[in-house]
């Protein structure tokens, strides 16, 4: 009712979805519980024991009566209780769409027939999209696997292992190479050291004279 007063388009969409809900619920109901038993079961189906049926009965009873609870007395946007009344025109419209949905489901699914296949054939692309859940899962998996894992994580790990680590390893290789190359200077020969000492002194003297 709030949607009806606020925005008719939203109301239309919600109205259609209410009908759809009735339709698919009863489709499910008819498919599972009605029709001939042509399926081979591994385990013969039987009635559930009391510890399963009693909670179900309890919940079902609650579902029947909860609608009559005046929620407006307890829950509202500003904490003050407000009285609700039934707007009969909209209420009867929504009951109507529910009944229409149930009727369509009954016609199509109560007995095994070819109507569902014909409808599916008539709207093949829509049927395919709905069957594949609008490819949402594939979309999310694509983003995660192909984009985040492959295009971001893999290069990051590669960069870390080869470029950053590689730079550190380069520093160490450089240190090792340089030290290997200049090793020969430590010859152990006194003559070499004397020569270096003499040449060094000459250079220092010349520099002191020149500067």
């Amino acid at each position: 009712m709030a949607a009806f007063e606020h925005d008719k388009i939203i109301f239309g969409i919600l109205y259609f979805c209410a009908g759809l809900t009735a339709f698919y619920m009863f489709r499910l109901y008819y498919r599972i519980f009605w029709g001939e038993t042509k399926k081979e079961y591994h385990h013969t189906p039987h009635e559930a024991p009391l510890n399963m049926t009693l909670p179900l009965i309890f919940l079902a009873l609650l579902t029947c009566v909860t609608g009559f609870i005046p929620f407006g007395q307890f829950v509202s946007s500003n904490g003050m209780p407000f009285a609700t009344h039934i707007e009969w025109s909209i209420a009867s419209l929504s009951v109507l769409i529910g009944v229409i949905g149930i009727l369509i489901a009954t016609i199509m699914y109560r007995k095994a027939n070819s109507k569902p296949d014909k409808v599916a054939a008539a709207v093949r692309p829509l049927y395919k999209a709905s069957y594949n859940k609008f490819w949402f899962d594939e979309g999310w998996l694509f983003v995660t696997k192909q984009l985040i894992f492959e295009r971001v994580s893999r290069p990051v790990a590669w960069f870390d292992r080869h470029i950053i680590d590689g730079f550190m390893n380069l520093l160490s290789t450089l240190t090792n190479t340089v030290s290997r190359r200049i090793k020969w200077v430590q010859s152990g020969e006194i003559q070499d050291y004397a020569w270096a000492f003499y040449m060094g002194t000459m250079v220092i003297v010349i520099l002191m004279v020149l500067l």
């Binding site: 985040i148 893999r154 990051v156 870390d160 680590d165 550190m168």
Partner: protein
């Protein structure tokens, strides 16, 4: 002489008491447990006394101070004191040392030598947290660093020699920057009036000229940032953690990386706040990158320890990120994150070590269905994973929430964009954590040898339960931690 020095004396005594043990496993374990338990009790006592002093109205910056002149010519003192943040860090270290001892119950070969190096490591760690004198602080940092090389290189697994050398050299490089920064602070503090000092409290009072700050803040921050796994200096972390033995990984990821965060806060940001404010954008960029980079890098890894190591890079980057936000809420969050991540990563490494000890593989492709085989270890792993991805009720959520609220208090685009980028790392963390959990713990058993493995022994259960209790209690009652550190943040300039 303040009782705080006991934190350094007890591990020293442990070191000495190990010598007569020879190869008697029973004696070695007794000394280790006794020492670790003493340290744990001491840290609880310190916390209690600290809180008592604070509620009695003592608002001095550092409590339980003690100062001994060490080397008069260079004005080096052995100066100790604690404030709320140090107390939190001391608690963290004691818990991890205690649980680490139990996680190394069956260390071989050479268990006595292992525990001796471990004690030396804890001397360095405790000394760092109680130091008030900059020189002593750096000294203890080096003391904590050197044993890492041997602990990883001898008792490690995989490419241990390479990892040990890389870790030590890179952290030494960091300490070189650190020493440069500290010396710069020392000389610039005394430049005008000749009052050279290494004491942090005096430097904070006097202040440092802004020209000097501009040079030495980056040096100090990078120096400590190397240890705090700041991009691009984080690369010692994955290999180092993966090759280290269990207790060493626990201590390193849990405590040593927090030395970096603590140093950044105490030395870089507190002593040089103007330069921190000016240059924070550079380091915010780098730490923001490490938060995301670590998370994305973790997704790709196949080795449990590498995943956890990259996760540590990400979380420790968040600590530095929060410190750079330079406001009270974010810094509170940073300290809580240090505490929370320390405990959580210690738990992770302990569990990985226990799983590795049983399955002899750390490759996630070779493991599966372990929940049925080792329920205690698996459930603990799930809890650790949930703490890592910030599930409310565990400590990770509290600290990350505080950090992000504090970071978002900056109203300019730059800070806010980086905050949003950092928040998105939570999602990435969830991806790699839950993937690993699903892969190795659930599903079918990959290797039929795994079906006959034993669950945790009593000493392993003790270590794991202690850590989980700490993580959960911080998650459920965080005000204990935030009250502890609140008084220490009033000196921080609010930007």
């Amino acid at each position: 002489m303040s009782f705080l020095s006991l934190f350094v004396i007890i591990p020293l005594l442990m070191l000495v008491c190990f010598i007569p043990c020879r190869s008697n496993m029973h004696a070695i374990r007794t000394v280790a447990v006794a020492g670790a338990a003493l340290l744990l009790i001491l840290s609880f006592v310190t916390t209690y006394l600290f809180l008592a002093e604070r509620s009695a109205g003592n608002t001095a910056e550092m409590l339980f101070t003690s100062d001994i002149l060490w080397y008069p010519a260079l004005k080096i003192h052995y100066s100790v004191g604690v404030d709320g943040i140090s107390v939190a860090m001391l608690l963290l270290s004691s818990i991890i040392v205690f649980t680490g001892v139990f996680a190394s119950w069956n260390m071989n070969p050479l268990p006595k030598e292992f525990f001796m190096w471990f004690s030396l490591l804890s001397i360095g760690v405790y000394g760092f947290f109680i130091s008030v004198d900059l020189f002593t602080m750096v000294l203890f940092y080096e003391v904590a660093l050197i044993p890492m090389y041997l602990l990883i290189g001898v008792w490690g697994t995989g490419r241990k020699e390479y990892s040990a050398m890389k870790l030590t050299l890179m952290l030494m490089g960091g300490s070189a920057f650190m020493i440069l920064g500290v010396l710069g602070i020392y000389f610039s503090v005394g430049m005008d009036n000749g009052q050279y000092t290494f004491n942090m409290l005096e430097i904070a009072k006097t202040g440092i000229p802004i020209e000097a700050q501009r040079i030495f803040f980056p040096l100090t921050f990078v120096g400590f940032g190397v240890l705090g796994a700041m991009f691009p200096f984080h690369t010692w972390s994955p290999d180092g953690h993966a090759s280290a033995p269990t207790a060493v990984s626990m201590l390193h990821a849990g405590v040593l990386m927090k030395l970096g965060g603590y140093g950044c806060f105490r030395v870089a940001v507190s002593l040089m706040p103007e330069a921190a404010h000016e240059q924070s954008w550079i380091f915010l960029t780098l730490t923001g990158i490490s938060v995301i980079y670590g998370a994305f890098g973790a997704i790709r890894q196949k080795d449990l320890k590498y995943i956890n190591a990259y996760s540590s890079v990400s979380h420790c980057g968040l600590v530095l990120f929060a410190i750079l936000m330079l406001n009270e809420t974010a810094t509170t969050g940073a300290v809580m994150q240090m505490l929370s991540h320390g405990l959580m990563t210690a738990l992770f490494f302990a569990l990985i070590g226990m799983i590795y000890g049983r399955t002899h593989t750390r490759d996630i492709r070779e493991m599966g269905g372990l929940m049925r085989v080792m329920p205690f270890l698996s459930v603990s792993y799930v809890i650790a994973g949930l703490a890592s991805l910030g599930l409310p009720g565990l400590s990770g959520f509290v600290s990350e929430m505080t950090i992000f609220v504090g970071s978002f208090q900056h109203t300019d685009m730059f800070h806010r964009i980086f905050t949003i980028v950092a928040v998105s790392s939570i999602v990435i963390t969830a991806v790699y954590i839950l993937r690993v959990v699903g892969k190795i713990l659930y599903g079918g058993i990959q290797d039929e040898h795994h079906a006959h493995l034993t669950d945790a022994a009593w000493y392993e259960r003790l270590a794991v339960v202690v850590l989980i209790v700490c993580i959960a209690s911080i998650g459920l009652y965080p005000s204990f931690v935030s009250d502890l550190i609140r008084g220490s943040l009033t000196t921080l300039a609010i930007w």
